[in-house]
Subunit: 344 residues, 2 copies
């Protein structure tokens, strides 16, 4: 199993709580993803309708021998419902997940369901790390060499400079602790590399980050949209509006561009022949651009691990999200974030 290398040795100590009925396709991809993760050594609590989940699990021969357990949750917040419902619907699967984390019974809450509901539930149940005003969604985008870490990918449409500064710090600790990247560089997304260019928000944030440079993070300076795919900096920090537009544009453009490549390869007999020969080489590329490869984004800034995936996630994405959650737990991300912010 190629993913074995990613699996933390002590992951079995605490299971991951998976919102197993959340997302566009309900239990199906969630249960399959959990089975794949369990086979790779990660134990999972499948949270949701007990009968439905047992029925789904029954499809996998030998699943009874895997580190999987069903935790009943009578309710689930639908993709079209309101995020604020998490306040009143305490038995919703996502609330059960975050409570399991709060109570120390699970290492992380992982959901492909309603992302607003996941954020709200995580924030309400787990609270914030001391020194963090607002949690942010941290995500990865493919870049020329490796990947770029982007935040906020959509949790906060309206922001203050201090939020961005805190997020840059959270991401710096995250990359060091979880991805073994020492002293990662931080770029502030702007519309020109010069210090004096950008919006009022960028100018104010730039000053804060410059003050933090060499102390709590490694500030590269302002970067532009083109730098995200070039991988000019390890981390790109921006407001949740711009970050969400970036994430969705990047995914949408890749999809359309690869569609055009496919079309072009089928346009003439000659290119069709060539297409057959290059298919294998291009497949690896498509995988590199596939959001499933990263599995899910992490909500950084809350006092506990919470991962938010695409509603349309497939089993591979669910599995990868669970593996990432296990790695973050193994790396003791939350205590290390708290320690970093306690130092001031």
């Amino acid at each position: 199993m190629t993913a074995k290398a990613e699996v933390p040795s002590a992951a079995s100590a605490l299971p991951m709580a998976l919102d197993a009925v959340g997302g566009d396709f309900g239990a199906l991809p969630n249960v399959e993803g959990a089975v794949l993760a369990a086979r790779a050594g990660v134990s999972v609590l499948l949270v949701g309708d007990r009968v439905k989940l047992h029925a789904e699990l029954g499809k996998y021969a030998g699943s009874s021998g895997l580190p999987l357990e069903v935790v009943d949750a009578a309710d689930v917040i639908g993709m079209d419902e309101h995020a604020s419902d998490v306040r009143s619907r305490t038995e919703a699967s996502i609330n059960v997940c975050t409570r399991l984390v709060k109570e120390g019974k699970a290492a992380a809450a992982v959901s492909m369901g309603h992302s607003g509901a996941t954020m709200a539930s995580a924030l309400l149940t787990l609270g914030r790390i001391k020194g963090v005003d607002r949690p942010a969604i941290l995500t990865h985008l493919p870049a020329k060499s490796g990947f770029t870490t982007l935040l906020d990918a959509g949790a906060n449409a309206d922001v203050k400079a201090q939020y961005l500064a805190q997020w840059a710090r959270l991401a710096s600790v995250y990359l060091r602790v979880v991805e073994d990247k020492e002293n990662p560089t931080v770029g502030l997304l702007s519309i020109g590399e010069e210090d004096h260019k950008g919006s009022a928000l960028v100018l104010e944030t730039h000053a804060l980050l410059r003050d933090m440079h060499g102390k709590t993070l490694n500030f590269h300076g302002n970067i532009e949209g083109r730098d995200i795919f070039l991988g000019t900096t390890d981390i790109v920090v921006t407001d949740g509006f711009t970050g969400n537009v970036v994430l969705k544009l990047a995914e949408g453009e890749a999809k359309v561009l690869f569609g055009w490549v496919r079309e072009a390869l089928g346009s003439t007999l000659k290119s069709k022949l060539g297409g057959l020969l290059v298919r294998g080489a291009l497949r690896g590329l498509a995988e590199r651009m596939d959001p499933s490869t990263y599995g899910a984004s992490i909500l950084v800034g809350v006092r506990g691990l919470a991962f938010i995936g695409h509603g349309s996630a497939d089993a591979r994405a669910v599995k990868n999200a669970l593996l990432r959650a296990a790695r973050a737990h193994e790396a003791q991300l939350i205590p290390k974030l708290e320690a970093a912010f306690a130092q001031k």
Copy 2:
């Protein structure tokens, strides 16, 4: 000449004023682009150092028979200088260009030089169309079918809702008049399609656009980053910060992705063979993504035609920018924009 179809019949009435010494590569691509445009029937005033431009023109056999004329300008604003220099350096080539437009001696100012200086010069010399608070950069991005029109692509980092509403209207008239697109759809870039989602700016702009729907424009509603390449709406309106990030990300991503495709095609003997067969089919695609295809962006909202290109523009981009400028002039864009805004 395939571009002939694009050439307006009466373009010779007034020449285009080209900032022929502006841009990363100075006179070279500008003069070549002007020669190409002139051969396609567009007359051009080459503005810049007289000696340098005549020397460059001398390289083209038969250029003396083309509708090209040199207008001397002793100064040029360098790419690393300050945009505000246009105030004091009245003999800078870009200022000469915009003055030629103001005085009715040229139809449009076209520059591949310092974009901030071009914007400042156009605004100072030509003024604003009545009813427009701030000019915006209108640009085109390739989309699934045809192209998407995006604005503001970077003129205004900090904005108000009313600016966005005015830009949506300017773009609607532009597409109708210059691109023969009747009743083009307007999408407001946000982070969720629902009316109640987005930043405070988006919520306020949404209300303004909803009021204008069916009267001065055709409002589709909020769209997301992924819709830009899907071409969900003809026009995408956003603030100049987000718009500039979108434009540069889109260009940067395309470059990196096509680089990966090329790499993949050269990775094995089999894919190399296939690569030779598909090369022709992919070349058309690369051209579709090449910013040179669109030539330059238009600064809408000023009282006169002003086009702003990439500093790294090649001769093809310069030529296409001049053809676009001629088409906008032929279509009487400025009087039609003024008439539309006069109606309230």
